[in-house]
């Protein structure tokens, strides 16, 4: 790597002060001339906090074109009205990208990302208490030739811990302006912007970049180390808090016990805190549908609005509270620095199934709902590990399966005690959850062995120092997740819901016809058409029909069964659905139905999210196919084993 010190030695102070003295008047800033500022830094350097401090709540979150990497951008306005646009690039230790996220950082920095404007100025963000690796990154970034500022973030913590940093010397050695910042308190923002403005007017002399060889990396490390030794004095009494916490939190026994406790609390919160709000949302949408039904004349349009749009949006929005609580926990744990520890503790278990330690939290989230789980898989760097995690996430028993399981269990499994102390119904429920976990691990293992043989990603991860999460940044993070989820609910998921409504209600019931309306719809036709295929697994046509609207969400199958049976059965089936099913289904059919729902890909929203996250229809299709095959096999086995054993 060429360090090229001669060219930049004059840069640190003079241009910055020059331009501060003569700032461009705010009125002269035309939209095309707004400078673009890119934030680059190592993971855990407080880059997102700095981005939040610069842009406030006006940030836009989307995906980069063609890849599922989050693109965060927002406007920044200086005290005197000067404007810029800031883009927050994924954290990296090097421009040599190891993951899709890091490839975005590299390509945007190098100005070769199609559709992205080249950055005018780079802010290299550094954790002032942990400068070792970022100085090498800064040297690499500087060699690209774009104007750059180094922001020494978390400077308050560094001062409190007793770090002494010679900022002027550092600026001279690196040949770039160096600014100290405390993003969480918005300190140093104006100074940082002044430095950026000084550089934004300079012409860019972009150099060619190529991957450094290991020899060049060593040379750069030595140079970074020389600079660090010259400019940074370590505290005489190093911070021992992280070490003391780790000796408990990473302890083989105590650490695992604490991890389990944290997870237990998290799921308690997801299920109990979310429930009242979920009930409220559901009641609200039901109420809205009733209101609309009262004012609108009966017909296809009313049905579209009440049964399609309102109940469709409602059935997705009802998951919002769970998603918010889950992400609140995930972001808190991430910001505290615990997530890396959880990955450390779980790596061996996950690794046995060919998964990365970091896959643990996304898979766990999938117990609430596969959608946040699949969205959460973004914490995994490697593309292959991320895909494996996404593919197995829907096998985890999500909360939408609970209504299906409880209905069938209460109707068919006797409420008795076995082995002296175990409730049989509870045991079956536990078995269904267990089957989901075991099959997810097995499928992960098979995917690894079959498709990605030999290519095992290394597990090398920095364990960041523990930090108290900043309330404002946590809230902004949770709100960002909520926005992403709502946008998805409003586009892909809503359109699928309307498609399913269309299939279930068109064509309408002919006048004077008997039987449920759904029986005459496309869904009914499809149900009757596929019934012969489902007969070997013990399903009748009523089940086949109910499975079509059940594609909207698993618990909708319960409602659809109610529709099919309540009307078809006449007066005697008006009682609870469970009784109706008990009278109409055999035990082998019920067990096959349970086995089906462990695996069946009965959730259109999941496929919508997988499509978004993988940016291709190939992966959702593959997922649908393998889950369908497993569901059929499992139901077939359950039906015939139960029949053979005389149940």
């Amino acid at each position: 790597m060429s360090l090229d010190l001669g060219e930049t030695l004059e840069s640190p102070s003079s241009p910055a002060t020059d331009s501060v003295a003569t700032p461009p008047p705010p009125t002269s800033a035309t939209p095309t001339a707004i400078p673009r500022i890119a934030l680059v830094g190592t993971p855990n350097c407080g880059k997102t906090a700095l981005f939040n401090a610069l842009t406030g709540a006006r940030q836009k979150v989307a995906n980069y074109a063609g890849v599922t990497v989050e693109r965060k951008e927002g406007p920044v306005v200086a005290a005197d009205g000067w404007r810029g646009r800031v883009v927050d690039l994924p954290g990296t230790y090097s421009l040599r990208a190891r993951s899709p996220d890091e490839a975005v950082t590299r390509d945007v920095v190098l100005g070769r990302f199609a559709g992205e404007a080249e950055p005018d100025v780079i802010i290299c963000v550094a954790d002032a208490t942990n400068l070792r690796l970022v100085l090498r990154l800064a040297l690499e970034l500087k060699s690209v030739g774009r104007p750059m500022v180094l922001a020494l973030n978390m400077f308050d913590i560094a001062e409190r811990q007793g770090w002494r940093i010679d900022v002027e010397r550092l600026s001279r050695e690196l040949g770039v302006p160096v600014v100290t910042t405390v993003a969480t308190r918005k300190r140093g923002m104006e100074t940082l912007l002044d430095a950026v403005r000084g550089l934004a007017v300079r012409p860019i002399e972009a150099h060619a970049w190529r991957e450094p060889t290991s020899t060049e990396l060593r040379v750069a490390h030595r140079e970074a180390e020389r600079i660090r030794k010259a400019c940074v004095t370590q505290p005489t009494q190093p911070d021992t808090l992280t070490g003391r916490l780790d000796s408990v939190l990473l302890h083989p026994i105590a650490g695992s016990a604490i991890l389990l406790t944290v997870l237990f609390l998290m799921f308690q919160a997801v299920f109990t805190w979310a429930q009242p709000v979920m009930d409220l949302i559901k009641a609200g949408f039901d109420h809205l549908a009733t209101l609309v039904a009262q004012v609108m004349p009966e017909g296809v349009l009313r049905s579209l609005i009440t049964d399609g749009v309102i109940s469709g949006v409602g059935s997705v929005l009802v998951f919002l509270p769970q998603i918010l609580i889950l992400f609140l926990f995930i972001i808190l744990l991430e910001d505290f620095g615990y997530m890396a520890r959880a990955a450390f503790l779980m790596d061996k278990v996950m690794g046995g199934a060919g998964l990365h330690g970091r896959a643990f939290i996304p898979l766990l989230s999938s117990f609430a709902c596969a959608i946040p789980g699949i969205m959460g898989a973004r914490v995994i760097d490697s593309k292959r590990d991320r895909l494996t995690t996404i593919l197995v996430a829907p096998l985890m028993t999500c909360s939408a399966r609970i209504p299906v399981y409880t209905l069938i269990i209460s109707a068919f499994i006797p409420n008795k005690t076995v082995w002296g102390f175990v409730n049989l119904q509870g045991l079956v429920m536990f078995g269904l959850y267990g089957a989901g976990i075991v099959s997810a691990l097995l499928v992960g293992f098979i995917i690894r062995k079959l498709f990605w043989r030999g290519a095992s990603e290394p597990f090398i991860m920095e364990l960041p120092a523990y930090k108290l999460p900043d309330a404002k940044n946590v809230i902004m993070g949770v709100l960002t997740r909520a926005k992403i989820f709502l946008r998805r609910a409003g586009t892909v998921i809503l359109s699928m819901m309307i498609l399913i409504w269309f299939l279930s209600s068109v064509p309408g019931k002919p006048a004077g016809a008997v039987g449920p309306a759904i029986d005459y719809s496309f869904a009914g036709m499809i149900g009757h058409f596929i019934e012969p295929v489902l007969r070997p697994i013990g399903f009748n046509w009523q089940i086949a029909v109910a499975l079509i609207p059940g594609m909207a969400a698993r618990e909708v199958s319960v409602a659809a069964l109610g529709t099919v049976y309540a009307v078809a059965g006449g007066a005697e089936a008006v009682g609870p659905l469970g009784n109706a099913l008990h009278n109409q289904w055999s035990m082998p059919t019920a067990l096959a139905f349970l086995a089906w729902f462990i695996f069946a890909p009965q959730c259109a929203s999941t496929f919508g999210v997988v499509k978004r996250e993988t940016n291709s229809w190939a992966w959702p299709t593959a997922m649908f196919a393998y889950m369908m095959a497993l569901a059929y096999l499992a139901a077939f086995a359950a039906f015939h084993i139960a029949k053979a054993s005389g149940l």
Binding site: S214, L217, L250, S456
Partner: protein, 108 residues
Amino acid sequence: MFSGRAKSPESSGVVPLGSAARGFSGVVVGVGVASNDGGLQAGELERRLLEIGFVEGARVEILHEGAIGRDPIAVRLDDMRVALRRREANAVMVQADAGEAAYLTAAE
């Protein structure tokens, strides 16, 4: 997979980091020695290790071990902490501090 007995300490005290036990402390003397069953090319693993700070001259100390098979390991690397699997750690050669040789065999 990993066994503390696999590598007996040489007289020089240079061992792969992946074979050292908790409490080991020493200095990195080589990075990029090919790991036996790794999925990555040796050169790629070498560069990743370098990028996260495993560079000749860095001080290492094994702080924690995983509960199952004592894998992965958490190490202090100068003034930062890094977690990695023993398989990857085997590509880092470390020279034990004087008087630390006991830890090499303490692995079993």
